[in-house]
C-alpha cells in the first residue's frame, strides 16, 4: 500500500470494506494506526461485514479510545478542580473538548495531552494554581524555555507528578510571531459553558481552530486525523441555519480565511464532506493533498523532499525567517530526536 488513498476512500465509503482482498487488511490497519485513526476507522466500519480478526482488532481499538477518553476527561476534571477558585474562564480544546461536549467528532478520537485556553493576563495565576495542585515543568533545557516564553502561544509543557499526564496551557491558538493574528479575546468571549465549570469554543471557532492547527501551526504530521476532526465537526454543524456565513465571518475575524477555506476544500476532496463558501481547488491544494496522503502500508511517512519542505514551512510560519535560520541551526547542532515515528 503505497499511500493513504485506499484508507481515505474507506473512511469516505465504509461499504468498500467488502471489496478488500484479505492481504490488504494488515497494511490498511497499520496505516490507520500510524495516523491515529484506527478507532475512527472502527466506528466507520461498524455494521460492515469484516473478517473475524479484523473485527477483533477494531473492537480493541474502540475500547482503547474510550478508555483514553475517560482518562482525558478526568484530566480536565482535575484541572477544573485546581483552577475553579481563580474564577478564570478555562476553555477545553481539541479532542478533550469534543469528548466533553459529547460531539460525534469524539467517536474513536484518540486523545493525548490536555489542551486548555485561558486569558493571557491569567497565565501567571493559572501556572501557580497548577504547580500547587501537583503539576510540574517537563524539564527542557534553557534554550527551549526561552523559545517557549518568547515565541510561543502557550506555557512550557507541564506534567502531573502523580498521574504522569501533560497539560498545555494556551493563551491564543497560534504563536504570536505567526502572520495570522487570531482574536483570542473573542474566542474566549464567544466560548460555551458545559455546566461542569469548563467551557468549549463556539462551534464555528472550533472549526477555525482545527483549520489553524492543521495548516498554520504544524508540519501536517498527523494531518489526516486533524482533517477528520474538521469533517466530523462540519457534518455536525453544517446543517445549522446561517452556519457557513458565520464560519466565514469568524475565519475572517481571526485572519484565517485562506486556511479555513483550504481545509474545507481538502476535507471535501478527501472525505467527501459537504461544504460551502470554500473557494476553488488550486494547484497548491494538490501539494497539501499529496503530503496528507504520504503514508504507506508499513506506517512509514513517504515522499521525503515534500515532507522536509513542509517542516521548514511550519517553522517559517511560526517565526520570521532570520530567527528561523538561527533556530534550525541550533536545533540541528543538538541533534534532537524526531518527535514522530
Amino acid at each position: 500500500m503505497r499511500d493513504a488513498q485506499l484508507f481515505v476512500a474507506l473512511l469516505r465509503e465504509p461499504a468498500g470494506a467488502a471489496r478488500l482482498a484479505p492481504e490488504q487488511w494488515t497494511p490498511l490497519l497499520a496505516l490507520a494506526r500510524s495516523e491515529s485513526l484506527l478507532a475512527s476507522l472502527a466506528h466507520r466500519l461498524d455494521g460492515e461485514p469484516l473478517p473475524a480478526r479484523v473485527r477483533t482488532i477494531l473492537e480493541d481499538a474502540r475500547a482503547d479510545a474510550e478508555q483514553g477518553q475517560r482518562q482525558a476527561l478526568w484530566e480536565a476534571e482535575m484541572a477544573q478542580r485546581a483552577l475553579a477558585p481563580m474564577g478564570v474562564p478555562v476553555i477545553l480544546l481539541k479532542g478533550t473538548a469534543f469528548a466533553a461536549a459529547g460531539l460525534p467528532a469524539a467517536e474513536g478520537r484518540s486523545i493525548g495531552d490536555l489542551d486548555i485556553l485561558v486569558p493571557r493576563d491569567a497565565l501567571d495565576q493559572v501556572q501557580e494554581a497548577l504547580l500547587v495542585a501537583g503539576w510540574e515543568w517537563v524539564k527542557e533545557d534553557a534554550y527551549d524555555d526561552l523559545y517557549y516564553r518568547r515565541w510561543m502561544h502557550e506555557l512550557p509543557p507541564l506534567i502531573h507528578r502523580e498521574r504522569d499526564r501533560m497539560i498545555d496551557v494556551h493563551h491564543t491558538i497560534l504563536p504570536p510571531t505567526a502572520r495570522p493574528k487570531p482574536d483570542a479575546a473573542a474566542l474566549i468571549e464567544e466560548s460555551v459553558p458545559l455546566g461542569s465549570g469548563l467551557r468549549v469554543l463556539a462551534p464555528p471557532d472550533m472549526i477555525v481552530h482545527a483549520a489553524a492547527h492543521l495548516f498554520a501551526d504544524g508540519d501536517l504530521a498527523g494531518g489526516l486525523r486533524n482533517l477528520w476532526d474538521l469533517d466530523r465537526l462540519l457534518r455536525r454543524f453544517g446543517q445549522d441555519e446561517g452556519f457557513w456565513e458565520e464560519l466565514a465571518a469568524r475565519a475572517r475575524r481571526h485572519q484565517l480565511g485562506p486556511h479555513v477555506r483550504r481545509g474545507l476544500r481538502l476535507t471535501a476532496r478527501l472525505y467527501g464532506t459537504p461544504v460551502r463558501l470554500a473557494g476553488r481547488w488550486r494547484a497548491s491544494d494538490a501539494l497539501f493533498e499529496r503530503r496528507l496522503l504520504a503514508r504507506n502500508g508499513w506506517g512509514q511517512t513517504t515522499r521525503r523532499p515534500l515532507r522536509f519542505a513542509f517542516y521548514v514551512r511550519s517553522h517559517w510560519l511560526r517565526m520570521p525567517p532570520l530567527m528561523l535560520a538561527r533556530h534550525l541551526w541550533t536545533k540541528s547542532r543538538r541533534q534532537r530526536p524526531p518527535m514522530r515515528a
Binding site: A30, S34, R53, I57, G68, W298, G299, Q300, P338
Partner: protein, 287 residues
C-alpha cells in the same frame, strides 16, 4: 520494506519488516514450525530500519520501529538484528496490547492449570519455565503472560525463549542444538541465546489454562519458601504490567480476582534442580 517475516504467537499475529535479509533469515529459522498470523491479519507490525539512509550499508545500525516506538531507543548492530526483532515485538505488546492484561511473567501448564513466575531480570523465570517445559509441563511463555479479563484464564504467549548466561548452559544440557538460535554476544542485554519451545508448546499455543500458583523466584540462595500477602502480590503484579492502567476497570477486576483466588509464594533457589523440586512440591500442596 524489502524483507518480511510473519508469525502467530498465542493470540497475537506479528509482521516484521526489515531492510536487511539477515534478521528475517534468523527469524525464519528460529520460528520454524510456527503458524503464520491467523486469518492472514497481523495485529502488530515491527520495522527494522536503518537509522540514517547510509547506515544501511556503512556500519549497519538497526533502529527498532513499528506501530509503537520508543523515541529515544538506541539502535542495535546488524549482528544483533534478531534481538532487535524480538525487542520490537516485545515493544508492540507492551504498548499496544489492550485486550489481555499483560503480566511480565513466565508460565507453564499441567492438567489445564498453570503456574505463573514473575520477578526482575535475573530471577531466572525464563529458564525455570523452559526447564519445566522439558519435564512434563507445557511451556506457555517466558516474558509475557496474557490474562483474559472475561474468563480469568491465562493465554500462552510461547515466543522463542530468551536465555542469558547460566540459563543458556542449563538448557544446553537438556536440549539438542537445532532448537537454539545463534549466540548473540555484546548486546545491550549481555550474552543471549534464543531457544525455540517444544513442539507441543507451539501446537497448543491457542489453549489457555487456569492460574493455580503464583511464584516470585529469586536465584542464588539456599532453598526457602515464604508466603506472599495478597496486597503485595497485587502491587508487584501491577508494577510488572505495562498495560494495567490502560485496561481500566477490566484490569482491576482481573487482577483482584487473580490475587484473591490464587496462592502466591516467594522461593529462593540455588540451582535449577532445587527450583523444580520446590515448584513440584508447592504444586502438589496448593494447586
Amino acid at each position: 520494506m524489502r524483507h518480511e517475516f510473519a508469525v502467530q504467537v498465542g493470540p497475537v499475529g506479528f509482521r516484521v519488516g526489515s531492510e536487511w535479509r539477515a534478521p528475517v533469515a534468523s527469524l525464519q529459522r528460529l520460528y520454524e514450525g510456527y503458524p503464520p498470523p491467523e486469518g492472514g491479519v497481523a495485529d502488530f507490525s515491527v520495522r527494522l530500519e536503518a537509522e540514517r539512509p547510509w547506515r544501511r550499508w556503512m556500519k549497519p545500525s538497526v533502529a527498532i520501529r513499528g506501530d509503537y516506538v520508543l523515541p529515544d531507543a538506541a539502535p542495535l548492530a546488524l549482528a544483533h538484528g534478531l534481538l532487535a526483532a524480538e525487542m520490537g515485538m516485545n515493544l508492540q505488546m507492551a504498548l499496544g496490547q489492550k485486550r489481555y492484561l499483560l503480566l511480565h511473567a513466565s508460565a507453564a501448564e499441567r492438567d489445564g492449570k498453570c503456574v505463573l513466575m514473575t520477578g526482575a531480570s535475573g530471577s531466572g523465570k525464563s529458564t525455570l519455565a523452559a526447564m519445566l517445559g522439558e519435564h512434563g509441563w507445557r511451556f506457555m511463555g517466558d516474558e509475557f503472560a496474557l490474562l483474559d479479563p472475561e474468563t480469568w484464564l491465562l493465554h500462552p504467549f510461547p515466543r522463542a525463549i530468551s536465555l542469558k548466561n547460566r540459563g543458556i548452559h542449563a538448557m544446553e544440557e537438556l536440549v539438542g542444538p537445532d532448537r537454539f538460535g545463534p549466540w548473540l554476544k555484546g548486546t545491550p542485554k549481555g550474552t543471549l541465546r534464543h531457544l525455540r519451545p517444544r513442539q507441543d508448546a507451539i501446537a497448543r499455543m491457542g489453549e489457555p489454562a487456569r492460574p493455580a500458583l503464583i511464584l516470585f523466584p529469586t536465584y542464588g540462595a539456599d532453598t526457602a519458601v515464604r508466603p506472599v500477602g495478597a496486597a503485595e502480590v497485587f502491587v508487584r503484579l501491577t508494577q510488572a504490567s505495562t498495560n494495567y492502567v490502560t485496561l481500566g476497570e477490566r484490569g482491576f477486576g482481573a487482577l483482584s480476582h487473580l490475587v484473591t483466588e490464587v496462592p502466591a509464594r516467594a522461593i529462593d533457589y540455588p540451582d535449577g534442580k532445587a527450583a523444580m523440586e520446590a515448584v513440584e512440591a508447592l504444586w502438589a500442596e496448593l494447586s
